[in-house]
């Protein structure tokens, strides 16, 4: 089966005065058709930059290396005109802040229809009908009225639903959702997650869900990829990540996931210290300074991502936790 997305040894560097900032370091991951893969990591872990590279949206001056194949075809480094044949139609992305993703001075209906006019060469009349259906599909109430509204007239949750509706217009094979609910209330977050879940079942589209919140990702993802300091440090089925995390970093992240059904703890769990800056040179494991299990070897020799306990579970750790 050709993967929906195949990222191999992807590196993203931003040159600066003192050398380069390495945002992504030789990251590899695969998304199968109709699969939902959760990408989890802290700010600065490279999770967003990985997928900005996939979408060809890196800021000017970024250097990339490696390979990104979408539906079997190499898309890394394609010219914008080439990339636009799939980007926005078969390969789509939604962002944390739906307000800045929508054009403030155009009515919602026009912004939706424009996608179909450009990508599917529909007439405006047809496209507007399809836009209405798209809003109904993501359960926007009073969809007809919403089409004539401007983005600022909608609530944050409504805007995000418009973005999801827009991203689904051309029946994408892969939707990348980058922190789609971080700016929203818990109740609205739950509803957006429910819509994503429903869309998956309806359309067999693959989803990449990027978040710093492992608890949120676990509710939707089939597989979870944990990133730290620009690298993939663990990758496994969602149940394995939750139940048998091998990398100490993943285990620490899991401790931070709040669970209201458990008794209140005296101290709120958190990760001590900070993630290393992306400009620092690497010697050994990037997590070693924050890791309670780190030994001498961790500080000198960088652990490679390897199969541990079966081919579907990989971790980059010299001393993985007992499964």
């Amino acid at each position: 089966m050709t993967p929906a997305l195949d990222i191999e040894n992807l590196s993203v560097h931003f040159p600066n005065r003192d050398g380069a900032i390495a945002a992504v370091r030789e990251a590899s991951l695969t998304v199968l058709p109709a699969e939902c893969v959760g990408i989890v990591g802290e700010s600065g872990s490279g999770k967003t930059q990985t997928f900005m590279a996939v979408m060809g949206l890196l800021s000017a001056g970024a250097h990339t290396a490696g390979s990104v194949r979408f539906g079997g075809r190499e898309i890394l480094g394609l010219r914008a005109s080439e990339l636009n044949r799939v980007r926005g139609s078969k390969l789509t992305m939604i962002f944390q802040d739906p307000m800045t993703s929508l054009t403030p001075h155009l009515r919602v209906g026009i912004q939706l229809a424009e996608v179909l006019v450009n990508h599917s060469h529909m007439s405006w009349r047809e496209a507007e009908k399809a836009a209405l259906r798209a809003l109904e599909r993501v359960r926007v109430p009073e969809a007809q009225r919403r089409l004539r509204q401007y983005p600022h007239e909608l609530s944050g949750g409504m805007r995000q639903r418009v973005m999801i509706g827009m991203s689904l217009l051309c029946e994408p094979t892969l939707l990348i959702a980058d922190e789609p609910t971080t700016a929203l209330d818990v109740t609205v977050q739950a509803q957006i997650m429910e819509i994503l879940r429903a869309m998956r079942q309806e359309s067999r589209m693959a989803i990449v869900l990027i978040s710093h919140d492992l608890g949120l990702v676990a509710g939707l993802a089939d597989r979870i990829v944990v990133m730290y300091a620009g690298r993939v440090v663990e990758s496994a089925g969602a149940a394995d990540i939750l139940g048998r995390a091998l990398h100490p970093y993943t285990a620490e992240l899991l401790k931070c996931v709040p669970d209201l059904s458990r008794p209140r703890l005296e101290r709120m769990p958190s990760l001590a210290g900070q993630a290393p800056s992306a400009s620092s040179a690497e010697a050994g494991c990037a997590f070693a300074p924050r890791c309670s299990l780190a030994g001498e070897r961790c500080r000198s020799e960088r652990p490679l991502l390897r199969d541990i306990g079966g081919t579907a579970h990989q971790a980059a750790c010299h001393y993985p936790l007992p499964a």
């Binding site: 109740t187 931070c256 703890l265 709120m268």
Partner: protein, 335 residues
Amino acid sequence: MNDPLLSVTEPVLSVKSLVVHFGAFPAVQDVTFDLRQGETVGLVGESGSGKSTLARAILRLIPATSGSVFVSGDNLLSCRPADLRRRRRDLQMVFQDPLASLNPRMSVGAALAEPLKIHEPSLSAPLRTARVMEMLERVGLSPGMAVRYPHEFSGGQCQRIGIARAMILRPKLLVCDEPVSSLDVSIQGQIVNLLVDLQKELGTAMLFISHNLAVIRHLSHRVLVIYRGRLVEAADSEQLFAAPAHPYTQALLAAVPNPTRVPAATPIAAVDETPVAAAREGGCAFVDRCPYAQDQCRLTAPSLGEIGVRHAAACHRWREVVYSWGHEARNSRSR
């Protein structure tokens, strides 16, 4: 976590029947609560519920329409400007966006020294510097960082600086407006634990605003739930999380993602679709989203009434609401 002393000391903050209107729109309606020394009251609600407006009106950063705010016995809302300025040292605030709330052109040391210059002008420069260094260390930053600028710090570090700036005057009341919402889950705990430690040390009373129930549960002694400008439930923290008596509180609790169970489909009613301004006349404001609503709820608005020990709810059907929550919990345990 409940300190028996809490109930005998005089409140540091006493808010009575506070009302805030923006034009004709009632943003905060008839809010009353007390906050004592060393106590944390958590204020929870969705965006647009009026929680930040309430906090700002308490600190007189925006004008209140009516009501009173007593701080150590004096009504802040009728204070003269000169008195208010003097009072400000006892009333400090930590904001949601830690970077935006720091002056980008001021070094961290200067930002921390400024409140001391204003409120303790008699302090000599060396003593002031000593206080700044001590405070930096207290929030987990090294004194050497005093010469750096806000953009050189991570979000978590900026929030530590914001907390240091607020606490350096040892205020009686600290208002925190979503202080961890923009931070990674993995470091939210660091900031929450820091606030709890500082509070224990200095006896500060804390009003903590958040839409994050896990954080609210962690540090609040008492929790207030606000919906469309009105308090709909108030209870001691453990009681609120064990036996929520308002359907809105239950909707908020049910929406918290839990990795150990796939969430049941969220009832659409749990999400606000109607514009806030379109709130109905008469009747309960939550009625359109409420799975328990009956005719009575459409006709008369329930008032916030005592339903148990230190537990109040504004719901006609609170008995059924509490029972069904307990029932669900029993079922999910036996499964």
